[in-house]
């Protein structure tokens, strides 16, 4: 029988939740990296026991952890104690937590400033890794979305990282600005049908696409609306909260914008609002059913000022029509006095025949549904605030 492994990043460590395919009884392992913020953990689709984790601290900065045994043991790639710290040519050995923006003349861009909260220009400053996206074909290749927004890549299992500077250098960088959570690159979607194509999203700059493996990028924000951006044709400046796609239909994208749920049927070239009958279309996560590309999930949040569910009821909303028509999923979720939030990377699906869906809350609960959202139950109730949830379906 298949196994499901749920990778949970929290404000105070990482947890790994494991169950068989019935998804009724769960083992909880953790905390790993206790006391550290774990913004994201994700496994390689090629080698599911190869996991990567972003570990960070306001005091001690960024750490990257790697596991080769499904999270039983971890290491910082390339930094074993007592081993030489330099190569024979004097260059440093692996520096898995070294994220340095590309300022080389070879890339042709100074890449110096973005717009700050007060409207002035501000230099890019690395703060943390928000999202790790392992390659679909190589367990040693991983993409990292960071704050201040940029995209990095490793091809040696996270020992060394290089910026894909064409993203920041394509021209609109000086107009990007931080959202309330910082100027983060939080979503990375790899197109399974086209290895040269990938989508990313930045808060608050917008969504971007590359069609040449990350060398060049263009904004894909046509049709997005924001009350804070009077120009209806603005190229960037949008507070995209998350993107999602179904692997079988990678040209169709769904987006949770700051306000509004959006859909694109042309790989982001244009977007239409599909908020429909949602009680509020503010929210953070958005996810697509593993086998039904028109089944989409969001968690409506009352507003950008309140950041909790409307009416104290925690409801996942599901559309089986690709948007516009939404139904509330409440069975097993608290329907009174609930004021938690669900962050953008804290929802994921498994790929079992009966698609499971999972999300974590700022109250430390991780909820699971083994029947596509019809019924929910908590796997755990009392973890630290959950930042991210990823799911692996193992044979």
């Amino acid at each position: 029988m298949s196994t499901v492994r749920v990778l949970v990043g929290t404000r105070k460590g990482a947890f790994i939740l494991t169950s068989d395919g019935k998804r009724e009884r769960w083992d909880v392992d953790g905390p790993h990296f206790g006391g550290w913020e774990i913004y994201h953990m994700k496994g390689s689709p090629v080698d599911p026991n190869r996991l990567y984790a972003s570990q960070s601290s306001g005091w001690f900065g960024q750490i990257i952890q790697r596991s080769s045994d499904g999270g039983k043991t971890w290491e910082q790639p390339g930094t074993k104690p007592g081993e030489p710290t330099t190569n024979p040519d004097g260059s440093p050995m692996g520096q898995s937590n070294k994220f340095v923006y590309d300022t080389s003349s070879a890339t042709g861009k100074p890449l110096t400033t973005h717009q700050f909260y007060d409207g002035t220009q501000h230099p890019w400053e690395f703060k943390r890794v928000w999202h790790l996206e392992p390659s679909l074909t190589d367990p040693d290749t991983v993409y990292a979305g960071v704050e201040d927004a940029a995209l990095f890549r490793t091809t040696d299992g996270a020992k060394n990282w290089q910026e894909l500077s064409g993203l920041r250098g394509h021209g609109t960088g000086p107009k990007w600005q931080p959202g309330a959570g910082g100027m983060c690159l939080h979503t990375i979607l790899l197109d399974p049908s086209n290895p040269e194509r990938m989508f990313i999203a930045i808060s608050a700059a917008g969504a971007f696409r590359t069609d040449d493996g990350g060398n060049t990028w263009r904004p894909i924000n046509k049709g997005l609306q924001s009350q804070y951006i009077p120009d209806p044709n603005a190229e960037v400046g949008f507070c995209v909260h998350r993107l999602a796609m179904n692997r079988s239909r990678p040209n169709v994208l769904f987006m949770q914008l700051h306000w509004h749920v959006m859909r694109s049927d042309n790989s982001g070239d244009s977007w239409q609002k599909v908020s429909g009958n949602l009680p509020t279309d503010f929210g953070f996560p958005i996810e697509v059913h593993a086998h039904e590309p028109n089944t989409v999930y969001v968690v409506p949040i009352k507003s950008d000022s309140l950041h909790y569910p409307p009416d104290g009821k925690l409801r996942v909303y599901r559309s089986r029509t690709g948007g516009n028509e939404w139904e509330a999923l409440t069975n097993g979720l608290p329907q009174r006095d609930c004021y938690v939030n669900v962050l953008r990377d804290a929802m994921a699906v498994d790929s079992l025949d009966s698609c499971g869906i999972y999300f974590g809350t700022s109250g430390g609960q991780v909820y699971a549904s083994a029947d596509a959202g019809d019924h929910w139950a908590p796997i755990v109730r009392d973890l630290p605030p959950v930042v991210s949830v990823e799911v692996q379906t193992l044979p």
């Binding site: 001690f60 104690p81 520096q95």
Partner: protein, 98 residues
């Protein structure tokens, strides 16, 4: 031998208990201690000072002989008691707020 006291989270990263003892060549300064520390425990690179600028991270402080030396030059000699190993060099995670 130079004695270095690390905060809890950095001891965990380095996989050490208690104080770290280091051989430091030449003058005993913040820089020479951190160079030796990072050479022995490369997983600490970037956690105490920036990879590129080598500047102390904002919420990390250095103490020697009960004095805060965080704002001293990284190349200034540390007190003889630290250089002789009589007193440790302390790396502290700053505490702010209530």
């Amino acid at each position: 031998m130079i004695r270095v006291v690390l905060p809890f989270h950095l001891r965990t990263l380095a996989g050490v208990d208690g104080e770290v003892k280091l051989e430091v060549n030449g003058a005993v300064t913040q820089r020479s201690i951190l160079d030796a520390l990072e050479a022995r425990y490369p997983m600490l690179c970037g956690t105490i000072r920036d990879h590129v600028t080598q500047q102390r991270r904002a919420f990390v402080r250095f103490f020697a002989c009960e004095e805060d030396v965080s704002h001293e030059s990284p190349d200034a000699p540390l007190p003889e008691a630290v250089a002789s190993g009589a007193e440790p060099f302390l790396v502290i995670g700053a505490i702010a707020g209530g």
